[in-house]
């Protein structure tokens, strides 16, 4: 509803490029930069010339350096949005850009809605409607799955989940309100403990919903898929096969991959983030041991594990170990090197895990792997339309501020403030949640009161 408040977003596409850009625009854009952007010699960003690039560091609350950046300063009205705009050029990959964005969100900046910069450009008279719409279309079609999930979420599970929480809030509010509107009727007032209990219950619901933001990763940043296995079973070659290009370094020397390599591929519209990992074995070599540790960590965070073994040799001790380490994770067992023959012992051992026979070298069975990944992800997304997921940064920000309102209410109550004041927080929470579902619910409270209580003359 506002034109002048300050918004920010990561403006470069997910997962590509060596540089990411975080764009900040609005009346408060330069001021917001002041606290997080440190230039050499303590120069203020506000003093930087219009249309200039400034070098410096983005720092966290404790002064820790987040990234080395170049920040472009564009002064209203000669900017894309026609408002003051800062563009932070940071290192590629999402993590730096995300950290910078979350720092900004603490500075009276809110995350931009899809297409909002463009909307402002339009409202500011910079571009006409057809251009604005074209940009909007592009933004919304970036990944099919994201669009599908986002649409499904608003229509279905997320709305239901949020409505569940707002129902609890309404119920609480109507109990508080009724004793205010009708102080002389014999309706039991909520005790402080009951109120606290209800608030904490609501807070917990909101927090749990907030946690699903992590799960929304598939849609947002791709299905995190770790390729693991003992050294030299052909993990990197499998990655290359899936990527159709030579990105990971492939050699015959066991332990060549010493770090986790991330790549993003799109299978049937589903973004899949592949993590090639160092082979897992006992190693005395320091660098390799570090790589192995990272492999294990990557395996931990992965939503899907591609466990690669050899089809042509009996299972090794390391295979058994990795098998038990991946227990409980969603995994696909891939028996590689089937072009060299299939070992009976290996088949017998892995049979119950539904293995896929592949040859990364010849490409045999790769289509089956891709299909299995797609099946897994769509089963995951099937699940995501049923159970609520937070996939959108704006939603996440709203959920967080809703949670803050509740914890403020709890603090206030414990500090002895009266219930009708705490309602300000509770209402604020409800409004935040309402902004996610896009529902205004003014009359709901009144309706709720009169459906539950017996009052009046």
């Amino acid at each position: 509803m506002e034109f002048t408040d300050t918004i920010a977003a990561i403006s470069t596409p997910v997962g590509m490029g060596g540089i990411s850009i975080v764009r900040v625009s609005g009346d408060n854009a330069f001021e917001a930069m002041e606290g997080i952007f440190v230039r050499p010699g303590g120069k203020r960003f506000a003093d930087a010339a219009a249309n200039s690039l400034s070098y410096g560091h983005i720092v966290g609350d404790k002064g820790e350096i987040i990234d080395e950046v170049l920040v472009g300063k564009m002064v209203s009205p000669h900017t894309y949005t026609t408002q003051d705009t800062a563009e932070i050029n940071c290192h590629g990959g999402l993590s730096a850009a995300k950290s910078i964005l979350s720092l900004l969100l603490e500075k009276n900046v809110r995350s931009a809605q899809p297409g909002e910069f463009t909307k402002r450009a339009f409202l500011g008279g910079r571009i006409d409607l057809s251009q604005a719409e074209a940009v909007g279309d592009m933004i919304s079609s970036q990944t099919e799955m994201f669009a599908r999930i986002a649409a499904g979420q608003i229509a279905g599970a997320l709305r239901e989940r949020i409505n569940g929480i707002t129902d609890k809030i309404l119920n609480l509010l109507s109990q508080l309100e009724v004793t205010i509107e009708y102080p002389e009727y014999d309706i039991p007032e909520l005790t402080e403990n009951q109120l606290l209990f209800a608030l904490k219950d609501i807070g917990q619901d909101i927090e749990e919903l907030g946690k699903t933001y992590k799960k929304g990763e598939i849609a947002r940043n791709g299905l995190k898929t770790a390729i693991v296995g003992k050294p030299n079973v052909g993990k990197s070659m499998l990655l290359n096969r899936l990527l159709n290009e030579e990105k990971a370094i492939v050699t015959d020397i066991p332990g060549t991959t010493r770090d986790v390599v991330d790549e993003l591929i799109v299978l049937s519209g589903i973004p899949v983030k592949l993590m090639d990992t160092a082979g897992i074995r006992q190693s005395s070599e320091v660098v390799e041991a570090l790589g192995i540790q990272r492999s294990l960590a990557a395996m931990e965070t992965a939503q899907l594990v591609l466990f690669v073994c050899e089809a042509c040799n009996p299972p090794a001790e390391e295979d058994r170990e990795i098998l038990s380490k991946t227990e409980g994770k969603d995994r696909l067992i891939l028996l590689n090197k089937c072009d060299r023959g299939v070992n009976g012992e290996a088949m017998a051992f892995f049979e119950k895990y539904d293995p896929i026979l592949i040859s990364a070298k010849t490409g045999e069975g790769i289509d089956k792997v891709e299909q299995a990944i797609v099946d897994f992800a769509s089963q995951g997304s099937g699940e995501t339309t049923q159970c609520a997921l937070i996939v959108n940064e704006r939603h996440k920000a709203l959920i967080d501020s809703a949670a803050q309102s509740i914890s403020r209410a709890v603090d206030a109550l414990e500090g002895g403030l009266p219930g009708d004041l705490i309602e300000i927080d509770i209402n604020e929470c409800r409004n935040r949640l309402g902004l996610i579902t896009g529902e205004t619910a003014d009359e709901d409270l009144i309706n709720d009161i009169f459906s539950k209580f017996c009052l009046g003359k």
Binding site: M1, I180, E181, L417, D420, I424, G438, D442
Partner: protein, 630 residues
């Protein structure tokens, strides 16, 4: 009804107010006090400021309205301050935002007092006449009022405050009568003429409980309820002094036998037999409705309230009904203490015509007829205070309209009156509308105790608050500011006084050097309790102390609400051109297009509150508006 063929010129006025209930009285007084020659028409001079239902003024939300009316320069607060029988503040166990003053009123004296004020008001002429038509010129602008007897009163503005009289129909069980409230004549012709003017006319319903002769009640079986020993007045000008009236009300309960009688006779209730067409208010359900909807409740409360000192009639709050007279008496006599109750007036339901308030602007002026204003029950509201609140706004604006000056529009951020008017003009009133504190978004800022600070600037700007009153208010605000500064600068020292405060209030550890200001924020620490640490204190004005205490204690929340208001004002400030063409905005959904075109909101904020208009529609509208501007 015979048609009057011969009409005559009956006089020239600036404004005519139709109806002398709570809305009409405030409207007429405001208009006359603004120097306009004003005629106040009533169908019955003995029904001026009549209270046909409960004998009380104020209560939750409503108390706020009375204070706001007073701050705008209205009369209601002053009249009740003179005629109350009992007065108390509700919700004192809760925060200051929801403290609400309520008084039991002496109905006859309330009427007498208001009538006398009106009779003595310069520029104001009170007359018993029934208005039957509003006369307009070819542009639709108001030019006069026609009465039942054929009189034509020329005027430039009309305030319609016709209450429940329009096509009034009273229902007691199977008995239906064309009647206004309390056995007074209904008005038939005016509402047909409203349709002619282009208003959408709707049917609403309300009701009132039975009145009992108090000599037939055994009060030893009831629980007396008194008012407050010390109380503020409703009007910021008044001081109730020491010799306060405190007539008791009484609490009684229905029981299983009462419910049995009602259940056994539900088939005779017009509510369930379909005789009643109008929509009744949910907050005012009849006793039969309560028993049906809350079947598991073993008993319901009722409050026995005096109607006045000069009468033995008492009012039974909680027991309104439209059951037949014999059943009413039967179930009332099942109540403990009411075994021999003598019913003096039976409970009744009343149906009446009202307009769809979405046809009027927030100034209460008709969207179609310049110079025509509506206030009170005709706009779909219920309650004396709601009526009076609209009355004063309509009266001020009728005068401003005549002068061609900017009219008064109060927003949701200004006060309860703003909320009330905004609610009805944007959402309509599908059932009789009552103000409630829960409808008010910024209620921590919109308290009854600061209504003067909030609304006197409006009252002063529109000429109803004298310079003297206004300056008195400003002086109070300044005194509050100064005292807050002083408390910030005053710090505590270690010592016995501090220890006794800590022991008494259990407010936790206090470091020497802490300011009294921050100490006052702690739970259980009051301004009074800090006296022992505050040698230089010389403040005695209770109203100032109250403000200081509230503003400091709730400072953080007050800030939060101020930010919310800031956001609110931004969207509210985005005006929509009067001639904006919604139908050519193809991006708006059809329903939104129709609703917006039909009700023509004045700004984006209002548009967003119209039911059937979604936030997505508002976004589209924003874009369309920006396009139109370029």
């Amino acid at each position: 009804m015979s048609e009057i063929k011969i009409k005559f010129e009956a006089g020239k006025y600036d404004a005519v107010v139709v109806g002398a209930g709570h809305a009409g009285c405030e409207a007429a007084l405001a208009c006359a006090r603004k120097g306009k020659k004003t005629l106040l028409l009533t169908m019955h001079l003995d029904a001026v400021a009549m209270m046909p239902c409960n004998p009380s003024i104020g209560g939750t939300g409503k108390g706020h309205l009375v204070r706001e009316i007073d701050a705008l320069g209205g009369q209601m607060g002053k009249v009740i301050d003179k005629t109350y029988l009992q007065i108390k503040t509700l919700n004192t166990s809760k925060g200051a935002a929801v403290h609400s003053l309520r008084a039991q009123a002496d109905k006859a004296r309330y009427h007498d007092e208001m009538k006398r004020v009106i009779e003595r008001q310069e520029n104001l002429y009170l007359k018993q006449e029934q208005a039957v038509d509003i006369l307009t010129d070819e542009t639709g602008a108001v030019v006069g009022v026609e009465t039942y007897t054929g009189g034509i009163y020329r005027c430039r503005a009309v305030v319609l405050a016709s209450g429940t009289y329009l096509k009034g129909r009273v229902i007691i069980g199977e008995a239906l009568t064309d009647s206004g409230p309390n056995g007074l004549t209904a008005a038939h012709k005016l509402s047909s003429n409203l349709e002619k003017l282009g208003f959408t006319v709707v049917r609403l319903k309300t009701g009132t409980p039975a009145r009992i002769n108090k000599r037939s009640i055994d009060f030893s079986k009831l629980i007396p309820q008194y008012g407050d020993k010390e109380s503020e007045a409703f009007s910021f000008d008044d001081d109730l002094g020491d010799n306060k009236k405190d007539l008791p009300c009484y609490l009684a309960y229905t029981n299983e036998r009462t419910h049995e009688v009602i259940r056994a006779n539900l088939s005779r209730s017009p509510l369930y037999s379909g005789v009643i067409e109008g929509t009744g208010p949910r907050y005012c359900p009849s006793i039969e409705d309560k028993i049906v909807r809350f079947a598991d409740k073993k008993r319901h409360q009722l409050f026995v309230e005096p109607e006045g000192e000069s009468t033995d009639e008492v009012y039974l709050q909680g027991l309104s009904s439209s059951l037949p007279e014999d059943i009413q008496e039967k179930f009332i006599r099942t109540i403990e203490g009411f075994e021999n109750a003598e019913v003096m007036r039976s409970a009744y339901a009343i149906e009446y015509d009202a307009i769809d308030p979405r046809d009027i602007y927030p100034t209460l002026q008709s969207k179609k007829n310049p110079g025509l204003f509506t206030a009170g029950q005709i706009n779909g509201t219920s309650g004396y205070e709601e009526a009076a609140a609209q009355g004063i706004v309509a009266g001020i604006n009728a005068a401003e309209y005549i002068e061609g000056k900017p009219m008064l529009t109060l927003t949701r951020a200004d006060g309860y009156i703003g909320v009330l008017i905004d609610d009805i003009v944007t959402k309509g009133a599908p059932e009789p509308y009552r103000i409630m504190t829960s409808r008010v978004e910024y209620r921590l800022l919109l308290r009854q105790d600061n209504a003067d600070e909030r609304l006197m600037p409006f009252g002063h700007a529109h000429g109803l608050i004298s310079d003297e009153r206004y300056e008195k208010m400003l002086a109070k605000v300044e005194a509050v500011r100064r005292e807050k500064e002083r408390l910030k600068a005053t710090t505590v020292r270690e010592g016995q006084a501090l220890e006794s405060l800590i022991a008494e209030t259990d407010c936790g550890q206090v470091r020497p050097g802490t300011s009294l200001y921050s100490l006052l924020k702690r739970p259980r620490v009051s301004y009074e309790s800090l006296a022992r640490l505050d040698e230089n204190r010389n403040l005695t004005d209770k109203a100032v102390i109250k403000q200081v205490e509230i503003q400091i204690k709730y400072e953080d929340y007050i800030k939060l609400q101020e930010e919310q208001i800031e956001r609110f004002r931004k969207t509210e400030g985005k005006t929509i051109p009067e001639d904006f063409d919604y139908n050519s905005s193809k991006n708006l959904r059809l329903e939104a297009r129709q609703k917006l075109d039909r009700y023509r909101p004045l700004n984006l904020g209002q548009a967003s509150r119209i039911s059937g208009v979604s936030p997505a529609d508002i976004n589209v509208l924003m874009i369309e508006l920006a396009k139109a501007e370029r």
